[in-house]
């Protein structure tokens, strides 16, 4: 386990060096999307249309932030549960998506797709939303404003604290962690 400074867009070599359990400080542009936005993104791909942002090496953060107060860049913005996006994620990884940020485990299909396509899944601490907001330096809605908290936002983050959960070798920090601390009754 190591501590890594990462910058987006992610390149394949950097991602291949990551291992489950690594601590990452992520900087650069990332994009927010959750349930409703994913449905629309995948519909665009199916229709052969252009996406609202370049997927190559991009990082999607599963979050619906609280609305910002006047003068505030970002209000509380912790991760939402990732499994709800599992059905959409393999296609996005195939199309170049570099990484995702959320909470909770991913399906086998998503994990396999990360190995195949060289993607990474990071965990942010769920419920630590006020603290996470301080690493967001810029935020703007770039698509689907009608979705309110579910709109796609472009964020610029600086040293956002994350843990690598799934790496490109098929490791899973949830499985490793639970196996280590499980006890017989």
């Amino acid at each position: 386990m190591k501590t890594v400074e990462l910058r987006t867009p992610l390149d394949k070599e950097q991602v291949a060096d990551l291992e489950s359990g690594d601590k990452v400080f992520l900087s650069g542009e990332i994009y927010t999307a959750r349930d409703a936005a994913h449905k629309r993104l995948v519909a665009l791909i199916d229709e052969g249309e252009e996406l609202p942002f370049d997927l190559e090496g991009a990082v999607i953060y599963y979050v619906g932030p609280a609305p910002a107060r006047p003068g505030q860049v970002m209000n509380s913005a912790g991760p939402t549960t990732s499994y709800r996006m599992d059905v959409f994620t393999p296609l996005l990884l195939e199309k170049g998506l570099g990484g995702t940020i959320g909470k909770g485990p991913r399906s086998k299909a998503v994990r396999d797709s990360m190995v195949k396509n060289g993607g990474v899944y990071f965990a942010a601490v769920g419920g630590a939303a006020a603290g996470i907001a301080s690493s967001v330096k810029e935020a703007e809605v770039i698509a689907y404003e009608d979705l309110g908290p579910e709109a796609i936002r472009r964020l610029v983050v600086e040293r956002m604290p994350l843990f690598v959960v799934n790496d490109t070798k098929g490791n899973d920090l949830f499985e490793q962690g639970v196996a280590e601390y499980r006890r017989e009754d």
Binding site: A66, T81, P105, V125, G127, A130, G148, P149, G177, A179
Partner: protein, 281 residues
């Protein structure tokens, strides 16, 4: 009859919506601090510390603890000697939610149609309101913002008398096991046993309102709660599901009588941001 203008209820709901989303009850914070002391996993410890630091940031900056400021669950206990004036009770509660979520810059997380359009209502209404008529001339409001991630891990099962208490225990442990890191552990587990299909789910939610550390009034169920907490923590799920000894802070059970053919059991899962507050008018 005591006359009470429903505007007072609007005001109380507005204040509770804002305050419960910024400040956690002291029993929850204390329980998380104790968990940090006991946690064996270094990563688990680090996560618990991040969670505790986040409470301080939220209070200092007056930001919500979690961006998921929840569906507005409102329990009303209305004294039968109160005459409510100035409008409809449920409208007054929804107005309080509208004002609280607006003025508090809280996230609006309700969609008007659950399946087809799923369009956000824009003001976090409607609240989910449960009203009981009780003796007296007061109105007691309990406000509990409930996040979606933990609620999604909840379940009702129609069990049988033959399943017995061992069946109930296995169901609770299995439900927590299958939830893994999804509901933002360490969790609080509310268990409702008895009543009917819908009543046991209500009981499970009400069980979450009991302060952590307060024993079950029934010594037999108090023992079951302790055993379940031990078994759930032995699952190794830990903070955020990344491994550790703190999967749950508490297991709370509530029971009521039920039909001879039935044994309905509900498990309502609550994330570590166990937010609730009350006010009596």
């Amino acid at each position: 009859m005591r006359e009470l203008d429903v505007a007072r209820i609007t005001e109380a709901v507005r204040d509770l919506a804002i305050e419960t989303n910024i400040h956690l009850p002291e029993d929850v914070k204390k329980s998380l601090r104790q968990a940090l002391e006991k946690e064996e996993s270094p990563l688990g410890k680090e996560i618990l510390q991040v969670i505790l630091d986040n409470h301080d940031i939220a209070e200092k900056e007056r930001m919500p603890i979690c961006q998921d400021t929840g569906a507005a669950i409102v329990f009303l206990e209305v004294g039968q000697e109160v005459h409510l004036t100035g409008g409809a009770l449920e409208d007054a509660v929804n107005e309080g939610v509208r004002q609280g979520y607006g003025e508090g810059y809280l996230r609006k997380s309700m969609v008007g149609d659950p399946v087809m359009k799923r369009k956000n209502t824009g003001d976090n209404t409607p609240a989910i309101i449960y009203t009981r008529i009780v003796p007296g001339d007061r109105v007691r409001i309990t406000f509990a913002p409930k996040g979606g991630g933990a609620e999604n891990m909840s379940e009702v099962r129609m069990m049988t008398a033959a399943d017995g208490i061992e069946g109930v225990k296995d169901f609770v442990v299995d439900r927590v096991s299958r939830s893994g890191g999804n509901p933002c552990p360490p969790i609080v587990v509310g268990v409702g046993i008895g009543g009917s299909f819908e009543r046991c789910a209500m009981l499970a939610k009400e069980a979450l309102m009991r302060p952590i550390g307060e024993p079950n009034p029934d010594p037999e169920f108090d023992e079951v709660e302790k055993e379940l907490l031990r078994r759930v923590n032995n699952l190794g799920i830990g903070p955020q599901g990344l491994g550790g000894r703190t999967t749950a802070l508490a297991v709370h059970i509530r029971t009521v009588p039920c039909h001879i053919a039935s044994m309905p059991v509900a498990v309502n899962v609550q994330c570590h941001a166990s937010r609730h507050g009350e006010r009596t008018i």
